[in-house]
Symmetry: D2
Subunit: 130 residues, 4 copies
């Protein structure tokens, strides 16, 4: 409350409109499976994988936040127009460089759409090596 929508594997979804709806709102994490402790580790968050989202003034992806379990690591804010503007579609995308510590990261991301609210992805485990 607000509801947080959770990604569902769209290959299990029948209706094309629903596949599109889920995919274009979900944040996807791209990073290596293993990181070196104390070294820069790039993590990309992209909203939409196979589909694109409108970049309209009244309907756009406003932000993404990257968490390691319960802890915020970084966040990005976007504005309508930065993906081509009114009538265009795109995928909000940002790459953070974090420097991991500890033995393991459990990364998740939350995206916010100005019309369809909060969306989170499945967690991604990263092993941190000395």
């Amino acid at each position: 409350m607000p509801k947080i929508n959770r990604y569902v594997d769209i290959s299990t979804v029948d209706r094309e409109a629903k596949k599109d709806y889920i995919d274009r709102h979900s944040p996807f994490l791209t990073c290596a499976a293993t990181a070196k402790a104390g070294q820069k580790f790039p993590v990309t968050v992209r909203v939409g994988k196979e589909y694109t989202h409108p970049d309209d003034n009244d309907h756009y992806i406003k932000s993404v936040a990257l968490y390691n379990r319960e802890t915020l690591l970084a966040e990005a804010g976007f504005v309508a127009g930065a993906l081509g503007g009114q009538g265009q579609k795109g995928q909000a995308e940002v790459t953070f460089q974090i420097v991991p510590t500890g033995k393991k990261l459990e990364l998740t991301a939350i995206a916010y759409c100005t019309k369809h609210g909060l969306w989170e992805c499945d967690p991604v485990e990263v092993t941190v090596e000395e």
Copy 2:
């Protein structure tokens, strides 16, 4: 994932430490039960009601976000030190002035603690009158 902690009525909680833990992390909404459409309507979000939270550099309330159902209305960011600083305690607090439309608001807030993650409050209904 990240877990979002939900407020629990602390009068139902036995242990004093747990009452304190829950209360000092939970956002509380204060506003009138009825708003006038098209007129300024103050909504206060305060983190902690009967207890206070540290304002330490490694442990403070970093942000609150105010939602009407799934829609973000406003957000505030705080910094360590603005509530007295290292060794002090306080309640992060902000008052937004929103101008409601529609017939009803269903307000909630989410707070973020840099050590204990996301916390949300119970929704508060506001009737919007013409």
Copy 3:
């Protein structure tokens, strides 16, 4: 670069359109002249004093930030629609509760309009008493 627009006393400005333009974009600080160290001290930031700003999807006040000299104390983010929405006008407004330390605050605020960029106000001095 980006240019930061600075408030100009509009009583010194001739053209009505320019008075309106300057006033509706400028953040105004309201707070007491004296604060008690270690006690809550409300500071209101309102964008526009005598004039109001559009709340359109492509043109709204997106944020305000409150500084004590060079140090950020708090910030607020607003969304189009929270002041009545498309075709309406209003004044973005937020009240922060800060707990001052030291002997003096020198407060300023910066507001951001999605069409007309960054605007700052004149600094306001607050004496902090033990």
Copy 4:
């Protein structure tokens, strides 16, 4: 007011401590000189080029904002600890993917250090081709 510190070419600066101070606080933009209209265009903002900044709880790079002239394109928020944590040093870095329109971008970035305030870089021109 707050002062915005402007990057100075450190090869013109004598004192090593001052070179370090200026460089580690300044945002640096990396991107191609030419973009294709309507296509993704990566822009990296890194704070510090030859020097690194502390990642301490009371002293870290909190945010960067990317502007096209007066218009905010994207912003990123960082937390203490995400660059290795207390006692470590690093360079806050983020890569945004924007989709340019128009004929030219004039990019700048502003970074915020929790101890040393706002810092901006020299503008970078990007030609946008059809």
